[in-house]
Symmetry: C2
Subunit: 317 residues, 2 copies
Amino acid sequence: MILVICLNPALDITYYVPAVDWSGVNRPTAVHARPGGKGLNVARTLRALQADVLVMGLAGGITGTGVAAALGELGVPGAFTAIGGETRRTFTVVDGRGGGAALFSEAGPAVDEDEFGEFRVQYEKALAGCAAVVLSGSLPPGLPADSYATLIATAAAAGVPAVLDAHGAALLRGAAAGPAIVKPNLAELEALAGRSLSTAGGADRRAVAAAAGQLRAAGAQAVVASLGAEGLLAVTEDGRWQARPAGPVAGNATGAGDAVTAGLAHGLVLGRPWGERLRHAVALGTAAAAAPAAGEFGPADYARGLDQATVRREGEL
Amino acid sequence: MILVICLNPALDITYYVPAVDWSGVNRPTAVHARPGGKGLNVARTLRALQADVLVMGLAGGITGTGVAAALGELGVPGAFTAIGGETRRTFTVVDGRGGGAALFSEAGPAVDEDEFGEFRVQYEKALAGCAAVVLSGSLPPGLPADSYATLIATAAAAGVPAVLDAHGAALLRGAAAGPAIVKPNLAELEALAGRSLSTAGGADRRAVAAAAGQLRAAGAQAVVASLGAEGLLAVTEDGRWQARPAGPVAGNATGAGDAVTAGLAHGLVLGRPWGERLRHAVALGTAAAAAPAAGEFGPADYARGLDQATVRREGEL
Protein backbone atom coordinates (compact mmCIF):
# COMPACT_ATOMS: atom_id res chain seq x y z
CA MET A 1 0.00 0.00 0.00
CA ILE A 2 1.07 3.57 -0.69
CA LEU A 3 0.20 5.97 2.11
CA VAL A 4 -0.48 9.53 0.92
CA ILE A 5 -0.27 12.29 3.49
CA CYS A 6 -2.36 15.42 2.91
CA LEU A 7 -2.14 17.66 5.97
CA ASN A 8 -3.92 20.63 4.37
CA PRO A 9 -6.62 19.23 2.07
CA ALA A 10 -9.14 21.47 0.36
CA LEU A 11 -12.50 21.54 -1.27
CA ASP A 12 -11.77 22.84 -4.77
CA ILE A 13 -14.76 24.72 -6.17
CA THR A 14 -14.77 25.72 -9.83
CA TYR A 15 -17.29 28.00 -11.55
CA TYR A 16 -17.61 28.33 -15.31
CA VAL A 17 -19.04 31.71 -16.31
CA PRO A 18 -19.62 32.43 -20.02
CA ALA A 19 -18.50 36.08 -19.72
CA VAL A 20 -17.38 37.19 -16.28
CA ASP A 21 -18.35 40.64 -15.03
CA TRP A 22 -15.51 41.25 -12.55
CA SER A 23 -17.44 44.09 -10.93
CA GLY A 24 -20.96 42.67 -10.95
CA VAL A 25 -23.22 39.70 -10.40
CA ASN A 26 -22.49 36.42 -12.20
CA ARG A 27 -24.43 33.18 -12.54
CA PRO A 28 -22.13 30.24 -13.24
CA THR A 29 -23.42 27.83 -15.89
CA ALA A 30 -21.43 24.94 -14.38
CA VAL A 31 -20.27 24.31 -10.83
CA HIS A 32 -17.80 21.62 -9.74
CA ALA A 33 -16.74 20.82 -6.19
CA ARG A 34 -13.94 18.28 -5.82
CA PRO A 35 -11.64 17.19 -3.04
CA GLY A 36 -8.35 18.98 -3.61
CA GLY A 37 -4.96 19.66 -2.19
CA LYS A 38 -1.84 18.21 -3.80
CA GLY A 39 -1.88 15.00 -1.76
CA LEU A 40 -5.42 14.17 -2.84
CA ASN A 41 -4.46 14.69 -6.50
CA VAL A 42 -1.52 12.31 -6.03
CA ALA A 43 -3.79 9.73 -4.39
CA ARG A 44 -6.38 9.94 -7.16
CA THR A 45 -3.68 9.46 -9.81
CA LEU A 46 -2.26 6.44 -7.93
CA ARG A 47 -5.77 5.03 -7.62
CA ALA A 48 -6.27 5.41 -11.37
CA LEU A 49 -3.01 3.45 -11.81
CA GLN A 50 -4.66 0.64 -9.78
CA ALA A 51 -2.30 1.17 -6.86
CA ASP A 52 -3.51 0.34 -3.35
CA VAL A 53 -3.74 3.75 -1.64
CA LEU A 54 -4.72 5.21 1.71
CA VAL A 55 -4.98 8.97 2.26
CA MET A 56 -4.31 10.28 5.75
CA GLY A 57 -4.48 13.87 6.83
CA LEU A 58 -6.22 16.48 8.92
CA ALA A 59 -9.76 17.63 8.28
CA GLY A 60 -12.23 19.76 10.20
CA GLY A 61 -15.61 21.42 10.10
CA ILE A 62 -18.28 21.12 7.47
CA THR A 63 -15.79 21.52 4.63
CA GLY A 64 -13.61 18.77 6.11
CA THR A 65 -16.59 16.44 6.23
CA GLY A 66 -17.33 17.37 2.62
CA VAL A 67 -13.77 16.64 1.48
CA ALA A 68 -13.76 13.22 3.17
CA ALA A 69 -17.17 12.34 1.72
CA ALA A 70 -16.24 13.48 -1.80
CA LEU A 71 -12.97 11.53 -1.67
CA GLY A 72 -14.90 8.40 -0.73
CA GLU A 73 -17.27 8.96 -3.65
CA LEU A 74 -14.22 8.99 -5.95
CA GLY A 75 -13.24 5.56 -4.63
CA VAL A 76 -10.17 6.73 -2.71
CA PRO A 77 -9.99 5.42 0.88
CA GLY A 78 -9.20 8.11 3.43
CA ALA A 79 -8.65 8.28 7.19
CA PHE A 80 -8.60 11.85 8.44
CA THR A 81 -7.77 13.01 11.95
CA ALA A 82 -10.39 15.51 13.11
CA ILE A 83 -9.24 19.04 13.90
CA GLY A 84 -11.07 21.98 15.46
CA GLY A 85 -10.53 24.35 12.53
CA GLU A 86 -12.43 24.40 9.27
CA THR A 87 -10.81 22.75 6.25
CA ARG A 88 -10.00 25.28 3.53
CA ARG A 89 -11.61 25.91 0.17
CA THR A 90 -10.14 27.00 -3.11
CA PHE A 91 -12.31 28.88 -5.57
CA THR A 92 -11.58 29.09 -9.30
CA VAL A 93 -13.53 31.19 -11.76
CA VAL A 94 -13.05 30.22 -15.39
CA ASP A 95 -13.99 32.95 -17.87
CA GLY A 96 -15.62 31.43 -20.94
CA ARG A 97 -14.46 34.25 -23.21
CA GLY A 98 -10.75 33.47 -23.18
CA GLY A 99 -10.44 30.46 -20.92
CA GLY A 100 -8.56 32.63 -18.39
CA ALA A 101 -9.10 31.90 -14.73
CA ALA A 102 -8.88 33.59 -11.35
CA LEU A 103 -7.90 31.32 -8.44
CA PHE A 104 -8.56 32.13 -4.78
CA SER A 105 -6.87 29.89 -2.24
CA GLU A 106 -7.63 29.93 1.49
CA ALA A 107 -4.65 29.31 3.78
CA GLY A 108 -6.33 26.58 5.78
CA PRO A 109 -7.05 26.11 9.47
CA ALA A 110 -4.42 26.38 12.19
CA VAL A 111 -3.48 23.00 13.62
CA ASP A 112 -2.30 22.64 17.20
CA GLU A 113 0.27 20.32 18.75
CA ASP A 114 -2.30 17.94 20.24
CA GLU A 115 -4.08 17.53 16.92
CA PHE A 116 -0.81 16.81 15.11
CA GLY A 117 0.16 14.42 17.95
CA GLU A 118 -3.07 12.49 17.46
CA PHE A 119 -2.40 12.35 13.71
CA ARG A 120 1.14 11.01 14.31
CA VAL A 121 -0.21 8.16 16.43
CA GLN A 122 -2.52 7.09 13.58
CA TYR A 123 0.25 7.64 11.02
CA GLU A 124 2.72 5.40 12.84
CA LYS A 125 0.13 2.62 13.01
CA ALA A 126 -0.65 2.91 9.30
CA LEU A 127 3.03 2.74 8.28
CA ALA A 128 3.15 -0.94 9.30
CA GLY A 129 1.64 -2.18 6.05
CA CYS A 130 3.16 0.39 3.67
CA ALA A 131 5.45 0.11 0.66
CA ALA A 132 5.98 3.88 0.50
CA VAL A 133 4.65 7.14 1.87
CA VAL A 134 4.03 10.30 -0.16
CA LEU A 135 4.04 13.65 1.68
CA SER A 136 2.66 16.37 -0.53
CA GLY A 137 1.53 19.96 -0.34
CA SER A 138 1.65 22.88 2.04
CA LEU A 139 1.76 22.52 5.82
CA PRO A 140 -1.28 24.03 7.53
CA PRO A 141 -0.70 27.13 9.68
CA GLY A 142 0.54 26.22 13.16
CA LEU A 143 2.68 23.23 12.23
CA PRO A 144 6.47 23.66 12.50
CA ALA A 145 8.61 23.55 9.35
CA ASP A 146 10.16 20.25 10.42
CA SER A 147 6.79 18.44 10.45
CA TYR A 148 7.54 16.57 7.21
CA ALA A 149 11.04 15.77 8.49
CA THR A 150 9.51 14.20 11.58
CA LEU A 151 7.11 12.11 9.52
CA ILE A 152 9.91 11.01 7.14
CA ALA A 153 12.08 9.96 10.10
CA THR A 154 9.19 7.95 11.55
CA ALA A 155 8.71 6.27 8.16
CA ALA A 156 12.43 5.52 7.88
CA ALA A 157 12.39 3.90 11.32
CA ALA A 158 9.57 1.67 10.03
CA GLY A 159 11.56 0.88 6.87
CA VAL A 160 9.17 2.83 4.61
CA PRO A 161 10.69 5.04 1.88
CA ALA A 162 9.26 8.55 1.49
CA VAL A 163 8.51 10.80 -1.50
CA LEU A 164 8.30 14.50 -0.63
CA ASP A 165 6.68 17.34 -2.61
CA ALA A 166 6.83 20.50 -0.53
CA HIS A 167 8.33 23.98 -0.68
CA GLY A 168 10.46 26.35 1.34
CA ALA A 169 11.62 25.37 4.80
CA ALA A 170 9.38 22.27 4.86
CA LEU A 171 11.18 21.01 1.71
CA LEU A 172 14.65 21.83 3.00
CA ARG A 173 14.08 20.31 6.45
CA GLY A 174 12.30 17.35 4.87
CA ALA A 175 15.18 16.66 2.48
CA ALA A 176 17.56 16.53 5.45
CA ALA A 177 15.52 13.64 6.87
CA GLY A 178 16.68 11.45 3.96
CA PRO A 179 13.57 10.76 1.82
CA ALA A 180 13.95 8.46 -1.19
CA ILE A 181 12.81 11.21 -3.59
CA VAL A 182 12.01 14.92 -3.40
CA LYS A 183 10.16 16.57 -6.31
CA PRO A 184 10.53 20.35 -6.38
CA ASN A 185 9.37 22.39 -9.36
CA LEU A 186 11.44 25.19 -10.86
CA ALA A 187 9.92 27.93 -8.69
CA GLU A 188 10.52 25.91 -5.52
CA LEU A 189 14.17 25.25 -6.46
CA GLU A 190 14.61 28.95 -7.29
CA ALA A 191 13.17 29.92 -3.90
CA LEU A 192 15.67 27.61 -2.18
CA ALA A 193 18.56 28.82 -4.34
CA GLY A 194 17.56 32.45 -3.80
CA ARG A 195 18.06 33.23 -7.49
CA SER A 196 16.59 32.62 -10.94
CA LEU A 197 17.49 29.30 -12.53
CA SER A 198 16.05 30.30 -15.91
CA THR A 199 17.44 31.77 -19.09
CA ALA A 200 15.50 33.44 -21.89
CA GLY A 201 15.10 30.02 -23.53
CA GLY A 202 13.74 28.21 -20.45
CA ALA A 203 15.24 26.48 -17.45
CA ASP A 204 19.02 26.77 -17.09
CA ARG A 205 19.64 23.02 -16.84
CA ARG A 206 23.12 23.29 -15.45
CA ALA A 207 21.92 25.63 -12.69
CA VAL A 208 18.88 23.40 -11.99
CA ALA A 209 21.15 20.35 -11.73
CA ALA A 210 23.39 22.23 -9.31
CA ALA A 211 20.43 23.28 -7.12
CA ALA A 212 19.05 19.73 -7.20
CA GLY A 213 22.50 18.46 -6.27
CA GLN A 214 22.49 20.72 -3.23
CA LEU A 215 19.12 19.29 -2.09
CA ARG A 216 20.63 15.82 -2.56
CA ALA A 217 23.68 16.83 -0.57
CA ALA A 218 21.28 18.01 2.16
CA GLY A 219 20.03 14.46 2.53
CA ALA A 220 17.54 13.46 -0.18
CA GLN A 221 18.49 10.21 -1.91
CA ALA A 222 17.20 11.54 -5.24
CA VAL A 223 15.89 14.87 -6.51
CA VAL A 224 13.50 15.12 -9.46
CA ALA A 225 12.92 18.68 -10.62
CA SER A 226 9.77 19.20 -12.67
CA LEU A 227 10.27 21.89 -15.32
CA GLY A 228 6.78 22.18 -16.75
CA ALA A 229 6.73 21.73 -20.51
CA GLU A 230 10.48 20.99 -20.45
CA GLY A 231 9.97 17.76 -18.55
CA LEU A 232 12.03 16.42 -15.67
CA LEU A 233 15.63 16.67 -14.55
CA ALA A 234 16.67 14.05 -12.01
CA VAL A 235 19.74 13.75 -9.84
CA THR A 236 19.80 10.21 -8.46
CA GLU A 237 22.01 7.49 -7.03
CA ASP A 238 22.12 6.18 -10.62
CA GLY A 239 23.38 9.42 -12.17
CA ARG A 240 21.78 12.45 -13.78
CA TRP A 241 18.75 12.08 -16.03
CA GLN A 242 16.57 14.10 -18.36
CA ALA A 243 13.03 13.17 -19.37
CA ARG A 244 11.22 15.25 -21.98
CA PRO A 245 7.68 15.01 -23.30
CA ALA A 246 7.30 14.61 -27.03
CA GLY A 247 5.52 17.82 -27.90
CA PRO A 248 4.38 21.07 -26.35
CA VAL A 249 2.50 20.72 -23.04
CA ALA A 250 -0.15 23.18 -21.91
CA GLY A 251 -2.89 23.15 -19.33
CA ASN A 252 -3.22 22.34 -15.66
CA ALA A 253 0.25 22.84 -14.13
CA THR A 254 -0.81 21.87 -10.58
CA GLY A 255 -2.34 18.62 -11.74
CA ALA A 256 0.73 17.86 -13.87
CA GLY A 257 3.17 18.19 -10.96
CA ASP A 258 1.02 15.98 -8.74
CA ALA A 259 0.79 13.33 -11.47
CA VAL A 260 4.59 13.35 -11.73
CA THR A 261 4.82 12.75 -7.97
CA ALA A 262 2.34 9.88 -8.26
CA GLY A 263 4.35 8.37 -11.12
CA LEU A 264 7.58 8.57 -9.14
CA ALA A 265 6.02 6.94 -6.07
CA HIS A 266 4.45 4.23 -8.20
CA GLY A 267 7.78 3.49 -9.93
CA LEU A 268 9.54 3.39 -6.56
CA VAL A 269 7.09 0.83 -5.20
CA LEU A 270 7.27 -1.29 -8.39
CA GLY A 271 11.09 -1.22 -8.28
CA ARG A 272 11.32 0.31 -11.75
CA PRO A 273 14.81 1.46 -12.79
CA TRP A 274 15.21 5.26 -13.00
CA GLY A 275 14.81 5.43 -16.76
CA GLU A 276 11.42 3.73 -16.68
CA ARG A 277 10.39 5.57 -13.55
CA LEU A 278 11.00 8.93 -15.21
CA ARG A 279 9.35 7.86 -18.48
CA HIS A 280 6.13 7.01 -16.61
CA ALA A 281 6.33 10.17 -14.50
CA VAL A 282 6.76 12.53 -17.44
CA ALA A 283 4.00 10.74 -19.42
CA LEU A 284 1.61 11.04 -16.47
CA GLY A 285 2.49 14.71 -16.08
CA THR A 286 1.77 15.41 -19.75
CA ALA A 287 -1.50 13.49 -19.64
CA ALA A 288 -2.61 15.25 -16.45
CA ALA A 289 -1.82 18.69 -17.88
CA ALA A 290 -4.28 17.97 -20.68
CA ALA A 291 -7.04 16.82 -18.29
CA PRO A 292 -9.80 19.24 -17.23
CA ALA A 293 -9.24 18.74 -13.47
CA ALA A 294 -6.28 18.04 -11.21
CA GLY A 295 -6.02 14.38 -10.17
CA GLU A 296 -7.28 13.13 -13.54
CA PHE A 297 -5.68 12.02 -16.80
CA GLY A 298 -6.71 10.29 -20.01
CA PRO A 299 -5.31 6.75 -20.41
CA ALA A 300 -4.74 7.33 -24.14
CA ASP A 301 -2.74 10.51 -23.38
CA TYR A 302 -0.71 8.53 -20.86
CA ALA A 303 0.01 5.70 -23.32
CA ARG A 304 1.01 8.19 -26.03
CA GLY A 305 3.25 10.01 -23.56
CA LEU A 306 5.04 6.77 -22.64
CA ASP A 307 5.63 6.11 -26.31
CA GLN A 308 6.88 9.53 -27.21
CA ALA A 309 8.87 10.70 -24.16
CA THR A 310 12.63 11.02 -24.51
CA VAL A 311 14.55 9.77 -21.47
CA ARG A 312 18.31 10.11 -21.35
CA ARG A 313 20.91 9.33 -18.75
CA GLU A 314 23.37 12.18 -18.85
CA GLY A 315 26.18 10.57 -16.92
CA GLU A 316 27.49 10.04 -13.45
CA LEU A 317 27.07 12.70 -10.81
CA MET B 1 -43.61 33.81 16.58
CA ILE B 2 -42.69 34.93 13.08
CA LEU B 3 -42.10 32.09 10.66
CA VAL B 4 -39.56 32.91 7.95
CA ILE B 5 -39.55 30.73 4.85
CA CYS B 6 -36.29 30.37 2.94
CA LEU B 7 -36.72 27.76 0.22
CA ASN B 8 -33.35 28.41 -1.46
CA PRO B 9 -30.87 29.25 1.32
CA ALA B 10 -27.17 29.67 0.60
CA LEU B 11 -23.78 29.63 2.17
CA ASP B 12 -22.41 33.11 1.44
CA ILE B 13 -18.63 33.08 1.23
CA THR B 14 -16.75 36.37 1.08
CA TYR B 15 -13.05 36.76 0.28
CA TYR B 16 -11.13 39.98 0.90
CA VAL B 17 -8.08 40.27 -1.36
CA PRO B 18 -5.84 43.34 -1.05
CA ALA B 19 -5.24 43.57 -4.81
CA VAL B 20 -7.03 40.98 -6.91
CA ASP B 21 -5.23 39.43 -9.88
CA TRP B 22 -8.24 38.47 -12.00
CA SER B 23 -6.07 36.18 -14.14
CA GLY B 24 -3.87 34.63 -11.46
CA VAL B 25 -3.55 33.11 -8.01
CA ASN B 26 -4.86 35.06 -5.01
CA ARG B 27 -4.60 34.46 -1.26
CA PRO B 28 -7.51 36.12 0.56
CA THR B 29 -6.47 37.90 3.75
CA ALA B 30 -9.93 37.41 5.27
CA VAL B 31 -12.55 34.75 4.66
CA HIS B 32 -16.14 34.88 5.92
CA ALA B 33 -18.74 32.16 5.50
CA ARG B 34 -22.26 33.05 6.59
CA PRO B 35 -25.68 31.56 6.10
CA GLY B 36 -27.30 33.55 3.34
CA GLY B 37 -30.32 33.83 1.14
CA LYS B 38 -32.83 36.63 1.58
CA GLY B 39 -35.00 34.75 4.09
CA LEU B 40 -32.06 34.14 6.40
CA ASN B 41 -31.16 37.83 6.31
CA VAL B 42 -34.74 38.71 7.25
CA ALA B 43 -34.66 36.19 10.10
CA ARG B 44 -31.36 37.50 11.47
CA THR B 45 -32.69 41.06 11.41
CA LEU B 46 -35.88 39.99 13.21
CA ARG B 47 -33.76 38.11 15.77
CA ALA B 48 -31.70 41.25 16.36
CA LEU B 49 -35.00 43.07 17.00
CA GLN B 50 -35.67 40.47 19.74
CA ALA B 51 -38.53 38.92 17.79
CA ASP B 52 -39.31 35.24 18.27
CA VAL B 53 -38.36 33.65 14.94
CA LEU B 54 -38.27 30.24 13.29
CA VAL B 55 -36.67 29.69 9.91
CA MET B 56 -38.06 26.89 7.75
CA GLY B 57 -36.81 25.89 4.36
CA LEU B 58 -35.11 23.26 2.25
CA ALA B 59 -31.48 22.27 2.69
CA GLY B 60 -29.34 19.47 1.35
CA GLY B 61 -25.84 18.06 1.19
CA ILE B 62 -22.75 19.20 3.01
CA THR B 63 -23.47 22.87 2.26
CA GLY B 64 -27.02 22.50 3.59
CA THR B 65 -25.68 21.03 6.81
CA GLY B 66 -23.25 23.93 6.99
CA VAL B 67 -25.98 26.53 6.51
CA ALA B 68 -28.14 25.00 9.24
CA ALA B 69 -25.17 24.77 11.64
CA ALA B 70 -24.03 28.33 10.97
CA LEU B 71 -27.56 29.67 11.45
CA GLY B 72 -27.73 27.92 14.82
CA GLU B 73 -24.41 29.49 15.81
CA LEU B 74 -25.94 32.90 15.08
CA GLY B 75 -28.73 32.12 17.52
CA VAL B 76 -31.46 31.79 14.90
CA PRO B 77 -33.60 28.64 15.28
CA GLY B 78 -34.10 26.75 12.05
CA ALA B 79 -35.97 23.64 10.92
CA PHE B 80 -34.98 22.58 7.42
CA THR B 81 -36.55 19.84 5.35
CA ALA B 82 -33.82 17.64 3.89
CA ILE B 83 -33.55 17.49 0.09
CA GLY B 84 -31.43 15.31 -2.17
CA GLY B 85 -29.65 18.19 -3.93
CA GLU B 86 -26.78 20.23 -2.58
CA THR B 87 -27.62 23.66 -1.11
CA ARG B 88 -26.08 26.49 -3.12
CA ARG B 89 -23.13 28.75 -2.38
CA THR B 90 -22.43 32.33 -3.31
CA PHE B 91 -18.92 33.76 -3.57
CA THR B 92 -18.11 37.43 -3.26
CA VAL B 93 -14.60 38.64 -3.97
CA VAL B 94 -13.92 42.11 -2.58
CA ASP B 95 -10.97 43.91 -4.17
CA GLY B 96 -9.09 45.93 -1.55
CA ARG B 97 -7.88 48.49 -4.09
CA GLY B 98 -11.22 50.12 -4.88
CA GLY B 99 -13.69 48.21 -2.73
CA GLY B 100 -15.27 46.81 -5.90
CA ALA B 101 -16.64 43.29 -5.74
CA ALA B 102 -17.45 40.39 -8.03
CA LEU B 103 -20.37 38.20 -6.96
CA PHE B 104 -20.90 34.62 -8.14
CA SER B 105 -24.24 33.04 -7.31
CA GLU B 106 -25.16 29.38 -7.83
CA ALA B 107 -28.75 28.70 -8.90
CA GLY B 108 -29.39 26.14 -6.19
CA PRO B 109 -30.50 22.52 -6.22
CA ALA B 110 -33.59 21.28 -8.03
CA VAL B 111 -36.39 20.37 -5.62
CA ASP B 112 -38.91 17.70 -6.49
CA GLU B 113 -42.62 17.42 -5.69
CA ASP B 114 -42.15 14.92 -2.86
CA GLU B 115 -39.59 17.10 -1.12
CA PHE B 116 -41.82 20.17 -1.37
CA GLY B 117 -44.73 18.04 -0.16
CA GLU B 118 -42.77 17.00 2.92
CA PHE B 119 -41.89 20.66 3.54
CA ARG B 120 -45.56 21.67 3.29
CA VAL B 121 -46.53 19.13 5.95
CA GLN B 122 -43.98 20.64 8.36
CA TYR B 123 -44.97 24.17 7.34
CA GLU B 124 -48.64 23.61 8.06
CA LYS B 125 -47.82 22.27 11.53
CA ALA B 126 -45.58 25.26 12.31
CA LEU B 127 -48.23 27.79 11.28
CA ALA B 128 -50.30 26.89 14.35
CA GLY B 129 -48.29 29.11 16.68
CA CYS B 130 -47.50 31.93 14.28
CA ALA B 131 -48.27 35.66 14.28
CA ALA B 132 -47.02 36.08 10.70
CA VAL B 133 -45.10 34.32 7.98
CA VAL B 134 -42.44 35.91 5.76
CA LEU B 135 -41.74 34.32 2.37
CA SER B 136 -38.60 35.70 0.87
CA GLY B 137 -36.19 35.07 -1.98
CA SER B 138 -35.98 33.02 -5.13
CA LEU B 139 -37.73 29.70 -5.62
CA PRO B 140 -35.31 26.84 -6.17
CA PRO B 141 -35.30 25.19 -9.61
CA GLY B 142 -38.08 22.64 -9.98
CA LEU B 143 -40.75 24.40 -7.91
CA PRO B 144 -43.71 25.86 -9.80
CA ALA B 145 -44.26 29.63 -9.87
CA ASP B 146 -47.36 29.31 -7.69
CA SER B 147 -45.42 27.76 -4.77
CA TYR B 148 -45.52 30.96 -2.72
CA ALA B 149 -49.21 31.38 -3.57
CA THR B 150 -49.89 27.90 -2.21
CA LEU B 151 -48.02 28.65 1.01
CA ILE B 152 -49.80 32.00 1.42
CA ALA B 153 -53.20 30.31 0.95
CA THR B 154 -52.30 27.70 3.59
CA ALA B 155 -51.28 30.49 5.97
CA ALA B 156 -54.51 32.40 5.29
CA ALA B 157 -56.53 29.26 6.09
CA ALA B 158 -54.69 29.14 9.43
CA GLY B 159 -55.37 32.84 10.03
CA VAL B 160 -51.70 33.83 9.63
CA PRO B 161 -50.91 36.98 7.60
CA ALA B 162 -48.09 36.73 5.04
CA VAL B 163 -45.33 39.10 3.89
CA LEU B 164 -43.92 38.29 0.45
CA ASP B 165 -40.60 39.38 -1.08
CA ALA B 166 -40.21 37.64 -4.44
CA HIS B 167 -39.87 38.49 -8.11
CA GLY B 168 -41.40 37.66 -11.45
CA ALA B 169 -44.12 35.07 -11.71
CA ALA B 170 -43.66 33.98 -8.07
CA LEU B 171 -44.41 37.57 -6.99
CA LEU B 172 -47.38 37.98 -9.30
CA ARG B 173 -48.93 34.61 -8.40
CA GLY B 174 -48.14 35.19 -4.74
CA ALA B 175 -49.82 38.61 -4.72
CA ALA B 176 -52.99 37.01 -6.10
CA ALA B 177 -53.15 34.80 -2.99
CA GLY B 178 -53.83 37.89 -0.86
CA PRO B 179 -50.77 38.41 1.35
CA ALA B 180 -50.86 41.25 3.90
CA ILE B 181 -47.81 42.91 2.34
CA VAL B 182 -45.65 42.43 -0.74
CA LYS B 183 -42.32 44.23 -0.97
CA PRO B 184 -40.96 44.53 -4.50
CA ASN B 185 -37.96 46.70 -5.31
CA LEU B 186 -37.86 49.02 -8.31
CA ALA B 187 -36.31 46.44 -10.65
CA GLU B 188 -38.93 43.85 -9.69
CA LEU B 189 -41.77 46.31 -10.29
CA GLU B 190 -40.23 47.29 -13.63
CA ALA B 191 -39.99 43.63 -14.64
CA LEU B 192 -43.70 43.19 -13.86
CA ALA B 193 -44.66 46.44 -15.60
CA GLY B 194 -42.53 45.56 -18.61
CA ARG B 195 -41.13 49.10 -18.78
CA SER B 196 -38.84 51.52 -16.97
CA LEU B 197 -40.34 53.28 -13.96
CA SER B 198 -37.42 55.69 -13.64
CA THR B 199 -36.64 59.17 -14.84
CA ALA B 200 -33.23 60.81 -15.04
CA GLY B 201 -33.72 62.05 -11.47
CA GLY B 202 -34.62 58.67 -9.95
CA ALA B 203 -37.78 56.64 -9.56
CA ASP B 204 -40.86 58.00 -11.33
CA ARG B 205 -43.06 58.01 -8.23
CA ARG B 206 -46.33 58.30 -10.06
CA ALA B 207 -45.44 55.32 -12.28
CA VAL B 208 -44.21 53.33 -9.25
CA ALA B 209 -47.45 54.05 -7.42
CA ALA B 210 -49.43 52.90 -10.46
CA ALA B 211 -47.45 49.65 -10.72
CA ALA B 212 -47.80 49.06 -6.98
CA GLY B 213 -51.51 49.75 -7.31
CA GLN B 214 -51.74 47.04 -9.97
CA LEU B 215 -50.08 44.51 -7.63
CA ARG B 216 -52.58 45.54 -4.99
CA ALA B 217 -55.41 45.13 -7.45
CA ALA B 218 -54.07 41.65 -8.17
CA GLY B 219 -54.73 40.71 -4.54
CA ALA B 220 -52.04 42.01 -2.16
CA GLN B 221 -53.52 43.93 0.77
CA ALA B 222 -50.58 46.36 0.74
CA VAL B 223 -47.59 46.96 -1.53
CA VAL B 224 -44.38 48.54 -0.26
CA ALA B 225 -41.92 49.37 -3.02
CA SER B 226 -38.32 49.80 -1.89
CA LEU B 227 -36.55 52.44 -3.97
CA GLY B 228 -33.01 52.16 -2.62
CA ALA B 229 -31.65 55.50 -1.45
CA GLU B 230 -35.04 57.11 -2.20
CA GLY B 231 -36.75 55.11 0.54
CA LEU B 232 -40.15 53.47 0.38
CA LEU B 233 -43.41 54.05 -1.43
CA ALA B 234 -46.39 52.23 0.05
CA VAL B 235 -49.87 51.64 -1.29
CA THR B 236 -51.99 50.38 1.62
CA GLU B 237 -55.51 50.04 2.96
CA ASP B 238 -54.70 53.26 4.84
CA GLY B 239 -53.73 55.27 1.79
CA ARG B 240 -50.51 56.04 -0.05
CA TRP B 241 -47.31 56.71 1.89
CA GLN B 242 -43.75 57.85 1.33
CA ALA B 243 -40.88 57.17 3.71
CA ARG B 244 -37.49 58.70 3.02
CA PRO B 245 -34.19 58.30 4.83
CA ALA B 246 -32.54 61.46 6.12
CA GLY B 247 -29.38 61.48 4.04
CA PRO B 248 -27.69 59.63 1.23
CA VAL B 249 -27.64 55.85 1.59
CA ALA B 250 -24.89 53.70 0.13
CA GLY B 251 -23.70 50.16 0.66
CA ASN B 252 -25.23 46.73 0.77
CA ALA B 253 -28.42 46.89 -1.30
CA THR B 254 -29.40 43.24 -0.74
CA GLY B 255 -29.10 43.54 3.00
CA ALA B 256 -31.06 46.80 2.96
CA GLY B 257 -34.06 45.29 1.15
CA ASP B 258 -34.14 42.32 3.51
CA ALA B 259 -34.01 44.61 6.54
CA VAL B 260 -36.99 46.56 5.14
CA THR B 261 -38.93 43.29 4.84
CA ALA B 262 -38.02 42.40 8.43
CA GLY B 263 -39.15 45.82 9.63
CA LEU B 264 -42.48 45.50 7.82
CA ALA B 265 -43.14 42.04 9.27
CA HIS B 266 -42.18 43.20 12.75
CA GLY B 267 -44.49 46.22 12.51
CA LEU B 268 -47.30 43.99 11.25
CA VAL B 269 -46.96 41.64 14.22
CA LEU B 270 -46.71 44.53 16.70
CA GLY B 271 -49.83 46.13 15.19
CA ARG B 272 -47.98 49.36 14.43
CA PRO B 273 -49.92 51.86 12.29
CA TRP B 274 -48.56 52.30 8.75
CA GLY B 275 -46.65 55.50 9.51
CA GLU B 276 -44.65 53.86 12.31
CA ARG B 277 -44.26 50.64 10.39
CA LEU B 278 -42.68 52.45 7.46
CA ARG B 279 -40.48 54.61 9.70
CA HIS B 280 -39.00 51.50 11.30
CA ALA B 281 -38.65 49.74 7.95
CA VAL B 282 -36.83 52.61 6.27
CA ALA B 283 -34.56 53.11 9.29
CA LEU B 284 -33.66 49.42 9.33
CA GLY B 285 -32.96 49.51 5.60
CA THR B 286 -30.64 52.48 5.97
CA ALA B 287 -28.84 50.90 8.93
CA ALA B 288 -28.46 47.59 7.11
CA ALA B 289 -27.06 49.25 3.99
CA ALA B 290 -24.25 50.66 6.13
CA ALA B 291 -23.45 47.27 7.73
CA PRO B 292 -20.61 45.13 6.38
CA ALA B 293 -22.76 42.01 5.87
CA ALA B 294 -26.36 41.29 4.91
CA GLY B 295 -28.54 40.42 7.91
CA GLU B 296 -26.72 42.86 10.20
CA PHE B 297 -27.19 46.49 11.25
CA GLY B 298 -25.81 48.87 13.85
CA PRO B 299 -28.29 49.80 16.60
CA ALA B 300 -27.03 53.40 16.62
CA ASP B 301 -27.59 53.66 12.85
CA TYR B 302 -31.10 52.27 13.36
CA ALA B 303 -31.88 54.76 16.15
CA ARG B 304 -30.57 57.66 14.06
CA GLY B 305 -32.59 56.48 11.08
CA LEU B 306 -35.79 56.41 13.16
CA ASP B 307 -35.07 59.94 14.28
CA GLN B 308 -34.30 61.35 10.89
CA ALA B 309 -36.62 59.54 8.49
CA THR B 310 -39.41 61.52 6.86
CA VAL B 311 -42.70 59.66 6.66
CA ARG B 312 -45.67 61.22 4.92
CA ARG B 313 -49.15 60.04 4.12
CA GLU B 314 -49.92 61.27 0.63
CA GLY B 315 -53.64 60.76 0.63
CA GLU B 316 -56.32 58.23 -0.12
CA LEU B 317 -55.90 55.72 -2.89
